[in-house]
């Protein structure tokens, strides 16, 4: 019975809400759909975690999430300078892209209990999650080469800005107003630069030492 309900939710209710919303919110349908997509794209990862994760993995994800939120809290005084993305990337490098996605998206949810929830939460979940997921595919090259690591961390910082601003524009104007998007990007430029910079700084300082710790734990406790 429960399974039936979850299938109904998944295959009927969610698409219905998405389409229905798009019909009702006619002039904001793009914004609505993007919001739904951002949320929905998290669901497969959550469900997979729900079915597969064993205790150790669950605890590890919880610890890494708490640590990345702790990082964000420690660096609150410096605007936009946050270690979350770096932490997500490190997690993905050593525990795989899926763990990276989870730590990214959960960090967004949890840290926003301190920094304020809002329509930006799903986009933060999606962006940080995606940064983690992709980092999982690049884990080997990033472990070997610092250059790859630096390039990816800059890309991650820039794309974080690109992704979150798309929605702002769609929501404000109801369509993709390119001049507003460019303006938003320009005004966010200092922030984007700091995102990228903080990613590079944190990854250069922490990737190796944290990696060492994680490797040791993996061996010691057979993760």
């Amino acid at each position: 019975m429960k399974k039936v309900i979850s299938y109904i939710t998944f295959f009927v209710l969610i698409p219905a809400v998405t389409v229905g919303g798009a019909l009702i919110f006619r002039d904001r349908q793009y914004a609505w759909i993007t919001l739904c997509v951002a949320l929905l794209s998290c669901i497969p990862f959550f469900l997979h975690f729900e079915h597969r994760a064993d205790v150790k993995r669950l605890v590890t994800v919880a610890v890494m999430t708490a640590l990345s939120v702790l990082g964000r809290i420690i660096f609150t005084p410096i605007p936009a300078f946050k270690p979350v993305a770096a932490f997500v990337i490190i997690t993905a490098m050593y525990f795989g892209g899926e763990a990276g996605f989870l730590v990214g998206s959960l960090s967004a949810v949890i840290s926003n209990f301190w920094f304020g929830q809002g329509p930006w939460t799903p986009f933060q979940m999606f962006s940080w999650g995606l940064i983690g997921l992709v980092a999982g595919f690049l884990s080997e090259p990033m472990k070997k080469s610092r250059i790859v690591l630096i390039i990816y961390s800059i890309l991650a910082g820039v794309s974080y800005s690109l992704m979150t601003d798309i929605w702002t524009v769609l929501w404000a104007d109801g369509y993709f107003n390119i001049s507003r998007y460019l303006a938003a990007l320009v005004s966010a430029l200092p922030f984007t630069a700091v995102y990228a910079l903080s990613n590079v700084v944190f990854l250069l300082i922490f990737a190796r030492p944290i990696g060492k710790i994680l490797e040791r734990i993996k061996v010691k406790y057979a993760l």
Partner: protein
């Protein structure tokens, strides 16, 4: 009726050279209270974890462990660290966690959680966050959370190791209540045997992975002595057992203070002895002086130090004792310059603390050993970690290694230098942390609860280091709950009470003058010899006289 049957159990960890357990056999009856003791590293933890299949370590196992109940879920397990066992963020959720795992319906959980909270007297904590609890409350919560699952057997691995004595007593009392009132079988591994011997039905003594003794608590002392006059476990036994055992009565040795007093009364009644007091003359120079110091954490909070004054002389071992949360650690941190008093003066080596610029207070001058030695480790090997101190002091790279090795030799931790600090036992971690402290070549060492969670032989090791430091002219200030340790090691003791240091005196007069706040040895023999405060002194005072 048997509930656990262990036969010829041997176990070896993967890649280990030696067996962690070798042919251990014993069986536990339903409703028994079993105490497991032995030096750290003797295989207690391995044995206990093998008794519960869900958390058994991987490795080569031979022999058998049989649980004769229905399901191994009926075995509850509590570990040492109160913090790491808590899973969720609120007390009520923590209590419900195990029941949720069993898949029980919500109203059953509601009822069980409620009755458990009442039984343990933690209703007031019910809606609190787990992180805001004290160590003792956390450990009680861990026990309650396990008990809510209605186990038939409770296994506890040094559950009081991180607690202060008052919280530890409370915890042990609760355990004893569970055992008496609900007939739960309890298997408890412990270092501090004074309180658990009287409630134990049988005691299992382990040594090098073997079960060397399994007998009634009153027989353990005698049996251990048969194994060897200086068996290392002897000094871990309760004071009563040690005193009465050393006097040569081996049949049935008393285990509680009351029985001990009766025993002394019967054998030595009427005798009066006063030990000669060791004359103690402190040196001339003052290492630390507090002049009318006031401290509070925040403007609106009450004073923790209320006009505290003290003089601690260079080269002495000074012990500060006192109740829980009385502010002993705060005082230590004020002396160490970590907290600033709002009124009064703290002088270190006759200079105000504030006059030390930058790190100079901690450069070959003063060092603090924190309560939790883990807090000092930041590198991945002990060696690298120790080298951090000379590095910070600006010692040349070529000379650092030699410094580290010489200190490591002194503390007998050379073999640990290549290991990761987190792979060490509590006692080993303590020694490595102490090594870190000594590497800063301090003239004054402040130790915060140095005997917490370490076993008797590690304590002896610590005593040796302290006396070595003393002979090198180092001043040692210890904050402790451990009356025995203070009595054995301190030159002077003081009680921290109501924001002030009172009753400063040499241990014999300090403890001899107290009625409640004194050592177990003193309680046992005080009718005969009021100023014998350590086991050694007690035995000495009695052995020199005639018996009835």
């Amino acid at each position: 009726m048997e509930i656990l049957h262990i036969e010829d159990l041997s176990f070896r960890y993967p890649k280990a050279e030696r067996n962690a357990l070798s042919s251990v056999s014993f069986s536990v009856k339903r409703g028994e209270f079993i105490v497991v003791c032995g030096e750290s590293g003797c295989g207690k933890t391995t044995l206990l974890r093998l008794l519960k299949s869900e958390i058994s370590p991987a490795g080569d196992l031979s022999g058998s462990v049989k649980y004769l109940g229905e399901d191994s879920l009926e075995i509850g397990f509590v570990m040492q660290d109160p913090d790491s066992q808590i899973v969720t963020d609120t007390v009520w959720h923590e209590l419900a966690f195990g029941l949720e795992n069993l898949g029980l319906p919500c109203d059953v959980i509601r009822r069980r959680v409620g009755e458990t909270a009442c039984y343990f007297g933690i209703e007031e904590l019910f809606r609190r966050k787990t992180d805001g609890l004290s160590g003792g409350q956390k450990q009680l919560l861990n026990l309650a959370a396990v008990t809510a699952m209605q186990p038939k057997v409770l296994i506890l691995d040094e559950p009081t190791g991180q607690l202060d004595p008052i919280a530890a007593s409370e915890f042990i009392a609760t355990l004893s209540k569970l055992n008496r009132e609900l007939g739960m079988t309890v298997i408890l591994a412990e270092h501090r045997l004074d309180e658990v011997f009287p409630i134990a039905d049988r005691v299992l003594v382990m040594e090098d992975g073997r079960a060397v003794l399994f007998d009634l608590p009153e027989k353990i002392g005698g049996e251990l002595m048969k194994l060897g006059k200086d068996h290392p476990m002897l000094e871990a036994l309760p004071s009563t057992v040690r005193i009465c055992g050393s006097l040569g009565y081996e049949e049935k040795i008393p285990i509680t203070v009351r029985e001990g007093r009766d025993f002394i009364e019967n054998h030595f009644g009427g005798k009066k002895a006063v030990l000669p007091e060791k004359e103690y003359i402190p040196g001339d120079s003052i290492a630390v002086e507090l002049k009318n110091v006031f401290f509070r954490y925040e403007r609106d909070l009450p004073d923790i130090l209320r006009g505290t004054s003290a003089k601690i002389y260079a080269g002495e071992i000074f012990a500060i004792l006192g109740g829980n949360g009385s502010g002993k650690t705060t005082m230590l941190n004020v002396i160490g310059g970590l907290l600033k008093p709002y009124r009064g003066k703290v002088l270190v080596a006759e200079r105000p603390v504030g006059a030390y610029k930058g790190n100079s207070l901690y450069r070959q001058n003063l060092a603090i050993l924190p309560q939790n030695p883990r807090a000092l480790f930041v590198r991945d090997t002990v060696g690298a970690d120790l080298a951090e101190v000379p590095e910070a002091r600006g010692v040349k790279k070529s000379e650092r290694e030699a410094l580290v090795v010489s200190v490591a030799k002194r503390l007998k931790i050379l073999h640990l230098l290549k290991k990761n600090p987190f792979d060490l036992s509590g006692g080993e971690q303590q020694k490595c942390a102490l090594a870190k402290v000594l590497l800063s070549e301090p003239r004054i060492v402040l130790l915060d609860e140095p005997t917490k969670g370490i076993d008797a032989s590690a304590k002896r090791g610590l005593s040796e280091i302290l006396s070595e430091l003393k002979s090198a002219g180092v001043t040692v200030i210890i904050v402790t709950h451990d009356t025995e340790f203070a009595a054995e090691n301190a030159d002077r003791c003081a009680l921290f009470f109501d924001g002030e240091l009172i009753a400063e005196d040499i241990p014999q007069r300090f403890f001899g003058g107290n009625t409640f706040y004194t050592t177990a040895a003193n309680r046992i023999v005080r009718e005969v010899c009021p100023n014998a405060v350590t086991v050694g002194q007690a035995v000495g005072s009695l052995a020199n006289g005639d018996t009835k």
